[in-house]
Symmetry: C2
């Protein structure tokens, strides 16, 4: 791998999107299984690194407006998954729609805190993650997406062809990078007090 | 086809995204050809219908900030394609990034004009069109996307697999519908003074 050290500002925020118990609901795997079973463990490792470095952390919680959604507030699915539960004092942004920037004060909070760089993880790659990454990049935040700290599910494309979770994930990443974000693997990021080490991804192997 | 008449409000805006001469630059077809060669003709027909009905029209022009982009202002590529050239007095929104809602006054203009429903067309399906459709839906606009009035190009997915323009287009539509928009074909829309006729799409045929 082509290694590179990139110094990220101390105000680099780790943003974790929609990793709540609802994402384990069987409804998501109706067409086929998810990809990246290591996703939660990889996010937990990033979170531990950010806590050690005392870097800013943004937990995004999806509070669905739809009665049938397992993400609706008041249901067990609305709770954060154990691996990514916020510590007391960590910022939690509640959203009602897909993008974490719409209907929330996320943008103004980031600007007020001097956070201009985001490392993004969560679910699902091609829905709330992609909507948030597209907006993050277009709003001018330097945006990194951690490909093995996200996952998605198999689905039919609009022509009715079955696409595996890995295919959906790979197409979503291609839509986002490099135009809206830089894609990294979690083992290319190491949080240390004062800087984060990033190794450039050499591309598909 | 399962026909259905939907009455759209008279303040339904037709929004045409990035259909400028730059989209014919050979750079876009480096990996493979575009899909939907009828795209311009279909947009022109929508535009003619909207003009007959005196419904609102929003032309979105991409003014790229990047020196190498054929969309950069001052180059021939920045001009609208002949088929979709705005008439005097029609609204033109200039944008510098992918989403037409970022860095522009599009949202406030629509709200001030009482426009809460949008019919969207343009290029490319999985980039500026998709970013704008995702935001339109999340911002609460009733959003329709005209599948045969959009097009895209072949590309490699993030795993390095070649995806035809038709595959890229079909995956993008599946990401957008029904969560962010309703997808229609142009022959399901007819603009008439006072209402627009929409026939429900029966799904892949």
């Amino acid at each position: 791998m082509n290694q590179e050290i990139v110094r990220l500002p101390a105000q680099t925020g780790l943003m974790i999107i929609d990793v709540q118990r609802a994402i384990d609901d069987p409804k998501w795997t109706a067409v086929g299984p998810r990809n990246n079973l290591q996703g939660e463990a990889n996010i937990a490792a990033l979170l531990a690194g950010w806590r050690r470095a005392a870097y800013p952390i943004i937990h995004v919680r999806h509070d669905s407006r739809f009665p049938a959604s397992p993400y609706r507030p008041g249901q067990p699915g609305n709770e954060f998954k154990e691996e990514v539960r916020p510590n007391p004092g960590e910022l939690v942004v509640a959203k009602r729609t897909n993008s974490a920037f719409i209907g929330t004060d996320l943008e103004s909070t980031l600007r007020a805190s001097g956070i201009d760089t985001l490392v993004i993880a969560g679910v699902i790659t091609n829905n709330s993650v992609e909507s948030t990454v597209r907006m993050s990049g277009n709003l001018g935040f330097k945006t990194y997406l951690v490909e093995d700290a996200c996952w998605t599910f198999a689905r039919l494309d609009y022509a009715g062809r079955l696409r595996s979770a890995e295919e959906v994930h790979a197409m979503s990443l291609a839509n986002m990078a490099p135009e809206y974000c830089t894609v990294l693997r979690s083992d290319q990021i190491e949080a240390l007090p004062g800087f984060v080490r990033v190794a450039r991804h050499a591309g598909p192997e």
